[in-house]
C-alpha cells in the first residue's frame, strides 16, 4: 500500500519550516531528499565498519568489502543487468557519460563517423560528445524534436546512418518530462551498427529500469536523485564493450600487476574504479535501492504522474501560464508565467517555503529550442502530496498578483 504520509515520516528534512512556512520541496529533479534508512546506513558504515576495500586481511576490511560489493549486487538486480561485472561505480551520471565518451568514444570514432544525440539533452550528455568529436574528427548530429518535445522514430531513422557509431539519448527529460522510446531507438542504432548510450539520471529514480529489455549498451545514473547520497553513480555497460575499453583513471585499486614501465589491469568492474572507491556512497545507494524497492517503483511512477497531471490541470487554469513538454510526462512540470521572470517567481515561491528550480536546467540548447532564456520547474517525487501542489499553485497566483500589482 502506497501511503504518502507514511513515506513523508521517513524523510526528516521535510519536517521543517523555511522562511516561516512549512517546506514544500519541488526540486527533486535537481536532487532528491534522503530517507532516514539511507542516512542511517551511511552513518552505520562510518561508525561500525569503515575500512578500505579489496586489500585488508583484517575483519573490518572484509566487512567493508562485503558492504561495497553487496551494494553492487543490489544495483545489478535493480537495473536488471546480467552480471556485477557490468556495474561500475562512478562519481555520478556526468562521470559515467564522460567515461563512455573518453574511453569508448576515442577508441571507436574516426573521421567520417557520427555521434547522434538530441537537443533536449542535459549538458552532461552534450559536452562530452562535443569534445570527443573534436578530438577524433567525427561529426555530432542531432535528432530534431517534435513540437511537443517528443522524438519521432521516423526522425531517428532519418538521422542515424551507417556512419553512426554512437547514439546517446536521455531516458527522461529533466525539463520537458518526455519519456523517450529508448528500446525502439536502441533497435534503430543497432540496425545501423551503432551502440546505444542512455542517460538514465531522470528515469532510474522514478520507474522500473531493465537494461536487458532496453537492450542499451551503456546506461548511466546518479544515486542522489534516487534517495541516495551525492557523489556516487553508476555506469552500466555490456560486458563485451567494457572488456575492450581502456580504463578511465589509473592508479590504486584498479591494477593487476605494476612494473616499472608497464602495468596490467584488474578484471571488470574494478579496472574502471581507480583509487579508493566511494564506499560509503555505495552503501547509501544500496540502502536507497532497498527503500525504493519496498515502496515499489510502479507505485512511485504512478504517484508522480498523478501529481504532475494534478498540477498541470490547475496551472493551465491560471492566465498567462505556459507549460512546456508533452501531455504524457514524468513528474516534471516546466513552465513560465507571463510578466514574471522565473527567478523572480522562484524568489516569491521561496518566501512561501516552496523550493522550485529556475534557470536553464543545464539544458541551454533546449532553452534555445523553446525560444526562452529561462524557465521555472516544479518536480515531484514519492514524498510530495496534493497539498504540496495546492500550496505551489497558490504561490504561483501570489507571484502573479504581486507582479501584476507592481506593473
Amino acid at each position: 500500500m502506497f501511503n504518502v504520509q507514511d513515506i513523508r515520516k521517513q524523510f526528516p528534512i521535510l519536517h521543517q519550516e523555511v522562511n516561516g512556512k512549512p517546506l514544500v520541496y519541488l526540486d527533486s529533479a535537481a536532487t532528491s531528499q534522503k530517507p532516514k534508512q539511507v542516512i542511517d546506513a551511511v552513518e552505520r558504515y562510518y561508525k561500525e565498519i569503515n575500512s578500505n576495500v579489496h586489500r585488508g586481511v583484517h575483519t573490518l576490511g572484509t566487512h567493508a568489502t562485503d558492504a561495497y560489493e553487496g551494494a553492487r549486487e543490489k544495483v545489478r538486480e535493480f537495473i536488471h543487468a546480467s552480471s556485477t561485472e557490468e556495474v561500475i561505480f562512478t562519481r555520478g551520471t556526468t562521470t559515467a557519460l564522460n567515461m563512455v565518451a573518453s574511453s569508448y568514444g576515442r577508441a571507436n570514432l574516426q573521421e567520417g563517423d557520427e555521434v547522434v544525440i538530441t537537443p533536449m539533452e542535459h549538458h552532461s550528455n552534450i559536452i562530452p560528445w562535443q569534445q570527443v568529436v573534436k578530438a577524433t574528427g567525427a561529426t555530432l548530429k542531432y535528432i530534431p524534436l517534435q513540437k511537443d518535445g517528443t522524438i519521432s522514430l521516423e526522425d531517428v531513422e532519418n538521422t542515424v546512418t551507417e556512419n553512426t557509431k554512437i547514439v546517446s539519448v536521455m531516458h527522461v527529460s529533466n525539463v520537458l518530462g518526455t519519456i523517450n522510446p529508448i528500446k525502439e531507438i536502441a533497435a534503430i542504432a543497432h540496425r545501423n551498427g551503432a551502440v546505444m548510450v542512455v542517460d538514465g539520471a531522470q528515469s532510474t529514480p522514478h520507474m522500473k529500469i531493465d537494461v536487458d529489455d532496453l537492450d542499451c549498451d551503456f546506461f548511466a545514473f546518479s544515486a542522489h536523485k534516487m534517495c541516495g547520497p551525492t557523489g556516487i553513480g553508476v555506469l552500466y555497460g555490456k560486458k563485451h564493450h567494457l572488456e575492450n575499453m581502456e580504463p578511465f583513471e589509473f592508479g590504486g585499486e584498479m591494477i593487476d600487476f605494476v612494473g616499472l614501465y608497464d602495468s596490467t589491469w584488474k578484471d571488470l568492474p574494478w579496472k574502471f574504479e581507480g583509487g579508493t572507491p566511494i564506499i560509503a556512497g555505495a552503501v547509501g545507494l544500496g540502502a536507497a535501492i532497498d527503500f525504493l524497492n519496498e515502496v515499489g517503483m510502479d507505485n512511485i511512477k504512478a504517484h508522480e504522474q498523478h501529481l504532475a497531471n494534478y498540477a498541470v490541470k490547475q496551472m493551465s487554469e491560471i492566465e498567462g501560464v505556459e507549460i512546456y513538454g508533452p501531455e504524457e510526462r514524468a513528474g516534471v512540470v516546466t513552465f513560465n508565467s507571463a510578466d514574471v521572470h522565473p527567478h523572480d517567481l522562484a524568489t516569491v515561491l521561496d518566501t512561501e517555503g516552496i523550493a522550485v528550480r529556475a534557470g536553464h536546467h543545464c539544458a541551454q540548447p533546449l532553452m534555445k529550442w523553446l525560444e526562452v532564456s529561462a524557465t521555472a520547474r516544479a518536480s515531484f517525487y514519492l514524498y510530495n502530496t496534493e497539498e504540496d501542489v495546492d500550496t505551489f499553485v497558490a504561490g504561483l497566483q501570489k507571484a502573479k498578483e504581486f507582479f501584476g500589482h507592481v506593473f
Binding site: H341, H343, T347, Q364, E401, F402, F407
Partner: protein, 148 residues
C-alpha cells in the same frame, strides 16, 4: 496576503527600472562591447560603453534576465555615465560591498536609485543577478587595460 518580505526586495523604484529600463538599446559606435552571462541561471546581458578622454560618455545595454538583473543594469548605466573610468570602478566596489551586506561608502557618490537594491543582500541567491552588469563593466575595462 502579505507581501512584506517581497516589498523589501522588489522596491517600487526597482520595478520602475525593470518596467521602463533606462539606456536600453545599442550604441551606434561604442568603444567597448561586453557580453556577460550568469551561467547558473541563464541571464545574459550585453553592455556597451563609450569612453571619451577617460570619461564614460555613453552606456547602453541589451539583455535577457530577471527584474533584479535588468533593473540593476538600468541603474548602473545611468549612474556611471559622466564618471571617470576609475571612479566607475570604485563605485562598482561600493556596490559589491552593498550586495555582500558590508558597510559601504555612501559619501563619495550619490548612489541614488541604486540604494534601492540594498535589500538584495538579504537574498543571497539573487546577488549575482544584481552584480551582473557591474561585472560586465569591470570585465570591459580590464580587457581594455590588457590590450593597451
Amino acid at each position: 496576503m502579505s507581501f512584506n518580505n517581497l516589498d523589501q526586495l522588489y522596491r517600487q523604484v526597482i520595478m520602475d527600472h525593470y518596467k521602463n529600463p533606462r539606456n536600453k538599446g545599442e550604441l551606434e559606435e561604442g568603444d567597448l562591447k561586453i557580453n556577460m552571462n550568469n551561467p547558473t541561471c541563464g541571464d545574459a546581458i550585453q553592455l556597451q560603453l563609450k569612453v571619451d578622454e577617460g570619461k564614460i560618455s555613453e552606456a547602453k545595454f541589451i539583455g535577457e534576465g530577471c527584474s533584479i538583473s535588468l533593473a540593476s543594469a538600468s541603474m548602473m548605466t545611468e549612474s556611471v555615465k559622466g564618471l571617470e573610468v576609475d571612479e566607475a570602478l570604485r563605485m562598482s566596489k561600493i556596490f559589491s560591498d552593498m550586495m555582500q551586506g558590508k558597510d559601504y561608502d555612501d559619501e563619495e557618490f550619490d548612489l541614488g536609485d541604486i540604494e534601492a537594491l540594498q535589500g538584495v543582500s538579504k537574498f543571497p541567491a539573487r546577488i549575482k543577478c544584481a552584480t551582473l552588469s557591474w561585472k560586465a563593466m569591470e570585465k570591459g575595462f580590464k580587457e581594455q587595460n590588457n590590450e593597451a
